[in-house]
Symmetry: C2
């Protein structure tokens, strides 16, 4: 197996993009990634696209062909992969496997979701199809409800507070203000989070990531060829993926995601990197409680102390382990299929030293943590600067 | 890269399965494949599932987690791949890459679609999302309409007749009568095809594959470990995948699928096998004209002679190159995400000599041809008996 590097990244602006279509968004992110890598489209050998549900959001399946077509990449193999909100991470992992195995050299890993072309109530319904249709959705559960159960249990077991959860949102909005691509450039306060409208208590509106349009793209190459394109190739040091029961009621614990722990274990083992070596991480904060659980599952703090370390500023830029410097799903926005790729793009920009005002000084090793549904799928990648 | 073998196959009955749910179907096919391979579920390292649109058909995305969960395979990596009706073929190809690369040893490639849980008019609408939503579906095109355009052009360019197309359906229904899993066990005649209700002329009802529920599963292993499980491992000799424009109007030709030709070229090259070496093939006869185009694209006859060789019986069991011995999409049924895997299962059964009354004598090499949409995606696999 060959070492794999990322040689280019590209993103659209994240937000409510009323004047841009699905296909335009993907072309925009893709063109930026090609430019960034200084590679010609003709050199691309294959493409993997993460997308949760264009079928429901814009009545378009078969987007792998649509995108290859509109990007002028026909007849390369183009494959859509889906694992709910982890679709982007899955696309990246398949692309890494394709390059590592030697089947392809230059591979695009992309992610996209156009979520605002249906009524917002319908968006929540479409997203709920990532949960168990027979055992959760049928009886009325939506994603805020499922994560609210996790939050309640985390509060009960570990004394995590609503204020600590709010601090995740405050930090991530603050980081988003430093990210030109982010959906929100609005600072918020703990007080405004606590007073925001209830969604499913204890989760309020500002505990929840938004409905977002966006696309993201990274370009992978064999490490030995990466320096022809860039002086700062970023190596994919490890990749991990795992599954868990799709529904909450089958799990041993509500306060930890087994799939995330297993995926992290796999990625740590593959890379020889330990949690203490990681300089920064992009984690799946679809709800504020999810970031708290994520940093525990990834080994950045002890179980139950995710709220406490957030409160103490350890996950802020300048803290011990900066988390979601991009603004995360909460501040940057969460176009579900694009999120896993956007996370990788942020880590690449950070490890290159190109993250502008949100730069983590001297960052050498970064991690992404991408979750599908309430934890039925998780993908973890670890990246490091090429030597 | 390691050689890869199929060590087990399993299918559900194909048809209108009113009393079986999506998850039950998948478990049934999977359990049969495990039994067939005499492998324990605990040994399975990863899973790829092809599915076109559970989101639209049963309002359930994230089926990768659902299936791993209900199959008791948690926490293995489980990934859904989608390329419209080529989803199954894509799942198989990803599984082959995973085993060939050495990342995993024992990998499940599965495919499933539950299509009858919505009104049949809605099924046609859901299937249409595999075409270009903006340039084809919006103006009223459905898949019968798109393939009718191809049929008209094939008739115009090569003199192909409606009778010749009907003969594809007659042959495939005849084969389906010999396949216990098939949806239809009904012989039809050229006359009954010609007199069946018009769908989009020149295509009549009996030129079209049906709406079907079904699931299929194959289990892959490194070739060097395959003999521990079976005396007749079937090797994956070559795999090919390609894309084309999603919409018909962008193509140079309506009478040939570029993606299929490119995918076939890739698979032939990888395997060192030529069209004349192939003993039998399962091809994507979503409409009768599609089989005629397929056998031309695959090099089994000269361009334009697909109708003629069908008429002459060359593609029948006992003919020069038996095509769709399973009954094909027309007779066996077409649960879209399952089709690519079911094709592989048929070839495995034939190459093992276990195809019962539809057995092609002395079959050593078989091919599968799986198409997404009107040809935006194609996947070709070539299989041969292990030495």
């Amino acid at each position: 197996m060959r070492d794999v590097a990322i040689i280019g990244v590209g993103l659209t602006k994240f937000g409510e993009l009323w004047d841009v279509s699905f296909r335009q968004m993907m072309i925009e992110a893709g063109a930026r990634a090609l430019e960034d890598a200084k590679i010609d489209g003709k050199q691309i050998d294959a493409m993997y696209v993460g997308n949760m549900s264009a079928g429901q959001f814009i009545r378009q399946e078969h987007i792998s062909s649509l995108i290859a077509d509109h990007a002028g990449l026909v007849p390369i193999p183009s494959t859509r992969v889906e694992g709910a909100c982890a679709s982007g991470g899955l696309a990246l992992r398949q692309a890494v496997i394709a390059v590592a195995s030697g089947i392809h050299d230059f591979v695009v890993a992309a992610g996209i979701e156009k979520m605002t072309d249906i009524l917002s109530g319908q968006a929540t319904g479409a997203l709920a199809t990532a949960a168990d249709q027979e055992w959760e959705v049928f009886v009325g559960a939506t994603f805020p409800a499922l994560y609210a159960l996790m939050a309640r249990r985390h509060m009960y077991e570990f004394g995590t507070t609503e204020e600590q959860m709010a601090m995740v949102a405050v930090k991530n909005h603050q980081n988003a203000c430093l990210n030109p691509c982010a959906q929100y450039h609005t600072k918020i306060t703990v007080d405004s989070v606590l007073k925001s409208p209830p969604v499913t208590l204890p989760l309020k509106l500002l505990d929840c990531s938004p409905i977002t349009d966006g696309a993201a793209c990274v370009i992978l190459a064999p490490a030995e060829k990466a320096r022809k394109f860039t002086d700062t190739p970023i190596l994919v040091a490890g990749t991990g993926q795992a599954s868990d029961s799709i529904s909450l009621h089958s799990r041993a614990s509500l306060t930890s995601l087994r799939a995330a722990r297993e995926a992290a274990k796999m990625a740590y083992k593959a890379s020889g990197i330990e949690p203490k070596d990681v300089d920064l991480a992009e984690v799946h904060d679809c709800f504020t409680i999810a970031e708290i659980i994520a940093i525990e599952d990834l080994g950045f703090c002890k179980k139950g102390e995710g709220g406490k370390v957030t409160q103490e500023g350890e996950t802020a830029i300048g803290g011990r382990i900066p988390v979601n410097t991009s603004g995360g799903l909460k501040g940057k926005g969460h176009p579900v299929g694009a999120t896993g790729i956007a996370q990788a793009a942020e880590i690449v920009q950070q490890l290159r030293g190109e993250a502008g005002k949100r730069q983590v000084k001297g960052a050498e090793i970064g991690l992404t943590h991408n979750v599908g549904g309430s934890g039925g799928t998780a993908v973890v990648h670890i990246f490091r600067r090429g030597d």
